[in-house]
């Protein structure tokens, strides 16, 4: 892994650091109405970790995820995914950067209604011009418990099932990092637990790195560690989190900030 920054193909073995952000800043709006969503965030996440990002509404967690995942460009700072720096360029370039390295799971699933479960799952492979391995797609869908739903359309599935399709779609490209934005936000507790266990498996069994934005302390307790965010800045970290400890910490997040000033 010499000069990883210049290596573009993802076939160069995985870097030790799955994600690295250095002084990332992002401001929305201009002049007086400007809102600083990210204020010089620096963090490093190792390979094969499951990290939850938590914070109150407007703390910048979604912006953090979008900047880290190459969906949005930071105003300043460096983003490295799997050792490769995310550089400027048009949307097409960012898309090509994402498709080999990053998988997504969204709160609203974002499956295409015109495609079946199996077709949705292999869509990223097709778009990237990679070989579509049907057996592999079936295997991944079976591993998320949907082996018997290959021909269904998303609108024939429950929310939990749709989210599991989304996870299968994120896994099938074998990305280095999976970003999950409130993946359990629209699910009942039982489906949420299934989804979170699948994300844990992605880390534990398949060696992926998962970054999950959530506001739910129970969801965060499934992660290896929790990063707290407030007003666009990192406001602490908790390893081996429990739901109660996370909730407690979250409730006093404002106090910490005031105390820190």
């Amino acid at each position: 892994m010499f000069r990883a920054g210049s290596r573009r193909t993802h076939d160069t073995g995985p870097a030790a650091e799955a994600l690295r952000l250095v002084k990332v800043t992002k401001t929305y709006g201009t002049d007086e109405s400007a809102v600083t969503a990210l204020d010089g965030v620096t963090l490093t996440l190792g390979r094969g970790t499951f990290t939850a990002v938590m914070g109150p509404s407007g703390s910048g967690k979604s912006t953090l995820l979008q900047c880290a995942a190459g969906l949005d460009r930071p105003d300043s700072g460096i983003v490295r995914v799997d050792g490769t720096e995310l550089t400027g360029g048009g949307e097409a370039e960012l898309t090509k950067f994402r498709r080999g390295r990053i998988g997504f799971v969204f709160q609203q699933y974002n499956l295409l209604d015109t495609l079946t479960v199996a077709q949705n799952t292999v869509l990223p492979l097709r778009l990237a011009g990679r070989r579509v391995d049907r057996a592999r797609a079936r295997e991944v869908l079976t591993s998320v418990g949907l082996g018997d739903r290959l021909g269904h359309r998303p609108d024939q599935l429950s929310g939990g099932q749709r989210q599991r399709v989304a996870i299968a779609r994120a896994l099938v490209t074998e990305p280095r990092v999976i970003f999950a934005d409130e993946p359990t936000g629209a699910l009942d507790t039982r489906s949420a637990r299934d989804v979170l266990r699948l994300l844990q498996q992605a880390v534990g069994v398949h060696g992926r790195t998962v970054v999950m934005v959530t506001h739910d302390p129970v969801a965060a307790s499934y992660a290896d560690s929790v990063l707290f965010l407030a007003d666009g800045r990192l406001a602490g970290r908790m390893d081996a989190p429990t739901a109660d400890a996370v909730a407690e910490r979250l409730a006093h997040l404002g106090d910490d900030m005031t105390a820190g000033v």
């Binding site: 979008q66 969906l71 949005d72 048009g90 949307e91 097409a92 898309t95 090509k96 994402r98 498709r99 997504f104 969204f106 609203q108 974002n110 499956l111 295409l112 209604d113 015109t114 495609l115 077709q119 949705n120 869509l123 990223p124 097709r126 778009l127 990237a128 011009g129 779609r169 490209t173």
Partner: protein, 434 residues
């Protein structure tokens, strides 16, 4: 009450309906003012007949077109507002109230369109009369008159068409899944059978009969209506035989197959446009050449027919373009979220545009193919009876012109709209509130 408020808040979305009502009212009034002109005292009988024929034929066509155009724009409008209507229903609006709102909006917009059309229709009527006078079909001494017939017919027909179209659109929307399949199939086959019969009957008419053109022309139109009604099925048939590779093509075929029923309106416009324009223009060209070859000068009737043919084609071209552009623009804007999802799944903007382009191309080719088949079914019998050859000698020029207008409208609108839609960042495009 709800209706007025909803128009005042969002005037932009009624632009297409306004435009079709305006164009329709202008055309109806322009031609019906020929009735007023003919009814004046001191107009000779030949002039009066020319004027009345023009008014009746084009007036009739115009009414049909206004209905179709307003219906298509309103259907799109109502479909896009499904969420808003659902919200109103949840907050206690009865189906009758929703119906009143949508119909009220449509009538108000149509009234504005009709009133705006009065001025242009007066000028148009004046110009049309001059065309007739220049060609010697109407006496120079006749003055243009814009009277009660023009005004009343224009306003009434536009309002009625708008109210009727809105009523049907909202009924379809509030009823949810409706099975109209059987009636539609019946009409489609009836149109195909009658059309085929009309085309065949061409052979029974003598070559010099003035009515010769009527049978194949109506036959071609009926055949195209039949194809148009069957268009979702035809589209699916085409898609099953399409070996498209590449991510964009693969997505395009799957999207079209799922949305075949929604796209029927666009395909319908394309088929009708191609068939009517091609059939009328070629038959008129064959007729003109035949008259010229025989060394006779054209009679007033023949000239009338020519003017009418060109006018009808002109009107249809304008209307179908408005309808195509409107429904494609609306349909493509509506897909903002879907495009966003494709991009988040790893599609570059180029791949999304490629998908949209492929879809447009498949639609255009399918529409042009069936439109051309219907047109040929009319043109060939006419040419065989009128001249000695099977195909017209005019070459492909006219057809190519028709094809390029259709292709430009379809592909141009969908690609330009998609490009605009793609300017929103993907994450914003999939946001629920969009």
């Amino acid at each position: 009450m709800l209706a007025m408020r909803s128009i005042r808040q969002r005037p932009g979305r009624f632009l297409a309906t306004l435009l079709s009502a305006f164009l329709g009212a202008a055309i109806i009034m322009t031609f019906n003012s020929m009735h007023d002109t003919a009814a004046q005292s001191g107009v000779d009988s030949v002039s009066a007949e020319t004027l009345t024929t023009a008014a009746s034929v084009v007036g009739g066509y115009g009414t049909l077109l206004v209905f179709f155009a307003v219906a298509s724009t309103l259907t799109v409008n109502v479909r896009q507002r499904a969420a808003e209507l659902e919200l109103l229903r949840c907050s206690g609006a009865t189906p009758a109230q929703l119906k009143r709102m949508v119909v009220g909006e449509a009538v108000a917009v149509a009234l504005v369109g009709a009133v705006l059309a009065i001025g242009p229709a007066m000028l148009g009527g004046q110009a049309l009369l001059e065309v007739f006078q220049d060609s010697g079909q109407v006496d120079r001494s006749v003055d243009h008159s814009f009277g009660a017939i023009a005004l009343l017919s224009g306003v009434d027909i536009t309002l009625l068409a708008a109210a009727g179209a809105a009523f049907l659109a909202v009924r379809r929307a509030t009823r949810g899944h409706e099975r109209r399949g059987r009636g539609r199939t019946f009409f489609a086959y009836a149109a195909l059978v009658t059309g085929a019969a009309a085309v065949c009957s061409t052979f029974a008419i003598s070559a010099t009969d003035a009515a010769l053109m009527a049978a194949p022309a109506y036959g071609a139109i009926l055949l195209s209506v039949g194809f148009a009604l069957l268009s979702p099925r035809l589209l699916k048939g085409v898609l099953d035989r399409l070996p498209l590779t590449g991510a964009s093509g693969w997505l395009a075929v799957r999207n079209l197959r799922r949305r075949a029923d929604h796209l029927a309106g666009i395909l319908m416009s394309l088929i009708l446009f191609t068939a009517v324009a091609t059939a009328t223009l070629y038959m008129q060209a064959v007729e003109s050449d035949a008259v010229e070859a025989s060394g006779l000068t054209k009679s007033v009737d023949a000239k009338n027919l020519e003017t009418l043919n060109f006018t009808v084609v002109g009107i249809i071209v304008v209307f179908v373009c408005v309808m195509l552009v409107n429904s494609l623009y609306a349909a493509t804007t509506y897909r903002r979220r879907e495009f966003g999802q494709q991009r988040l799944a790893g599609a570059t903007p180029g791949q999304v545009l490629g998908t949209v382009g492929t879809e447009g191309l498949i639609l255009t080719v399918t529409g042009l193919f069936f439109g051309t088949v219907a047109a040929l079914a009319g043109i060939i019998p006419f040419t065989v009876v009128r001249t000695d050859s099977v195909l017209p000698h005019q070459g492909l020029g006219i057809w190519l012109a028709v094809v390029s207008v259709a292709a430009a409208a379809t592909l141009g609108t969908s690609l330009a709209t998609a490009r605009r839609v793609l300017r929103t960042p993907a994450v914003g495009a999939v946001a629920v509130a969009a």
